[in-house]
């Protein structure tokens, strides 16, 4: 919501969020390297480099698993929205952990050879035709490149510059990356380790991601569809004060119809920042407030209050037989539309 870009827009919640994040990563690494490793059954200890590549690699997997659970969890239960608020920092930290893992792998398994490390990574195992012995490193490398891409484009500048839909499409690559990561572990370390504890933790995490995404997809199916130019929304009294009703329009776009006392207005449901669901937000200090990052808009013209400059499209409304109807054709972002007066109908 900045007027001018800064490296990171810090606030108290972000400090606490990042503090807990770093604490989680340190807790994992210390528990792995300082406590757990010493208790493993070993005639002679595992090489330090291999131990650290296992620690950082498994840590990155669990971090990405948590990240991918946050989206569907917030959809299913709004109390998880604060976890979504600073998820990009979570992603950047995960990339750093994964990169450390890769550095240990390249510096140990693929170093000290006549073949240069990256060429060695890509060419020393070419059994692509078989599942057992598959070059799972390539899958990990793909996931790492995607994480790098997403971490590198996590600044708000990229959202504004690329536009939120393009940015989001780019960031959807996290899904194939996660599938590749699961395969990287399933065809690699999972094949070697004999104790079932790892399989249970790894499988449990991956299945949690799968299950939550299936549940969130089912939840989203309950939305009604509509047709025609003017689409019926509901009676004014059915919208709680300072809340919205989300309407899915015939072209697939969504509008949020807000009521503020006796006045009703409609704006796009997609926030200008990251396309967050404005209709799940509330009117705070007279402005529609996005539930994801707190971006605000005036409901009568879809503009952020000065000095901010974000704009969302607005929609025309009318009343027919005591029911609000919305014009499915969006107005250009920031177009003023007089609110509908519904006094006496609530």
């Amino acid at each position: 919501m900045s007027v001018r870009y800064v490296p990171v827009q810090w606030n108290r919640i972000k400090w606490v969020y990042d503090g807990l994040l770093v604490a989680g990563v340190l807790a994992y690494l210390v528990a792995f390297l300082q406590i757990g490793a010493g208790m493993a059954d070993a005639t002679r200890p595992v090489d330090g480099a291999i131990l650290r590549m296992r620690a950082f690699g498994s840590c990155a997997f669990f971090l990405l698993t948590v990240i991918l659970c946050i989206g569907p969890l917030a959809r299913l239960d709004r109390r998880f929205l604060p976890l979504l608020y600073n998820r990009r920092h979570f992603g950047v930290v995960t990339f750093a952990v994964a990169l450390t893992h890769a550095a240990y792998v390249l510096g140990w398994y693929f170093a000290y050879a006549p073949t240069p490390p990256v060429a060695a990574l890509l060419s020393s195992n070419t059994s692509y035709g078989t599942a057992l012995g598959f070059p799972f490193e390539a899958l990990g490398a793909f996931a790492l490149v995607v994480l790098a891409l997403l971490a590198a484009t996590s600044h708000d500048f990229w959202l504004s510059f690329l536009t939120a839909p393009v940015w989001k499409a780019l960031h959807l690559m996290i899904y194939p990356a996660y599938a590749a990561l699961v395969a990287h572990v399933a065809l690699g370390y999972l094949q070697d380790v004999d104790n079932p504890a790892f399989a249970i933790l790894f499988g449990g995490g991956a299945l949690a991601v799968a299950g939550l995404h299936a549940a969130a997809a089912l939840e989203g199916r309950r939305e009604a569809r509509s047709a025609g130019t003017w689409v019926a929304v509901c009676a004014p009294g059915e919208i709680a004060d300072k809340r919205a009703r989300i309407v899915r329009l015939p072209d697939g776009d969504r509008a949020a119809v807000f009521r503020n006392g006796a006045r009703v207005s409609a704006i796009s449901n997609a926030c200008a920042h990251q396309n967050g669901p404005l209709g799940e937000g509330r009117i705070v200090f007279g402005c529609v407030t996005c539930p994801w990052h707190g971006y605000q808009y005036r409901m009568e013209d879809g503009c952020s209050p000065p000095p901010f400059t974000e704009k969302v499209p607005t929609y025309n409304l009318r009343l027919r037989d005591g029911v609000i109807e919305i014009d499915a054709r969006a107005n250009a972002p920031g177009t003023p539309v007089p609110p509908l007066d519904v006094a006496g109908m609530i």
């Binding site: 490296p7 890509l122 035709g129 590198a152 500048f157 510059f161 780019l170 899904y175």
Partner: protein, 147 residues
Amino acid sequence: MIGAEAGQDGGADLRCGRRMAVRRGGTAMTAALILAGQVYLWAGAAVAALFLTWGIGRVEPHARGSYLFRPLLVPGCVLIWPLVLWRWRALEQGRDAGCARHRPPRVAQVRIGVALAVLVPLILGLGLVIRQDGPRERPPALLEAAQ
């Protein structure tokens, strides 16, 4: 599949260096991939230098007079420079996205989420099915007695 070349030179020369020579510098495909990657990243570096010093202020009003955050954008420019050029051009020509900015790839997101929900259990299943838990103690079989 790899053995084809080995069969040809294997008979005459028994040296390991010869037999594995094809793989020492990585395969030709690997070399091509690495070269392509390097060219892509160098092109990205050039785009980043140009965009972050000159272009960004022309197309992003909020970036004018703000320099501290620009180094953070270097990795992104290097990695997705074709997208940077595409948006730069669109904004220079005054073609802002308008209402398209408010059309998130929602359907694609749900579909990809469902695909992940299906794929992950399959991958886990494959990983567990192919696991070799044995044979741990299989006695060797004599096929032909010593001469």
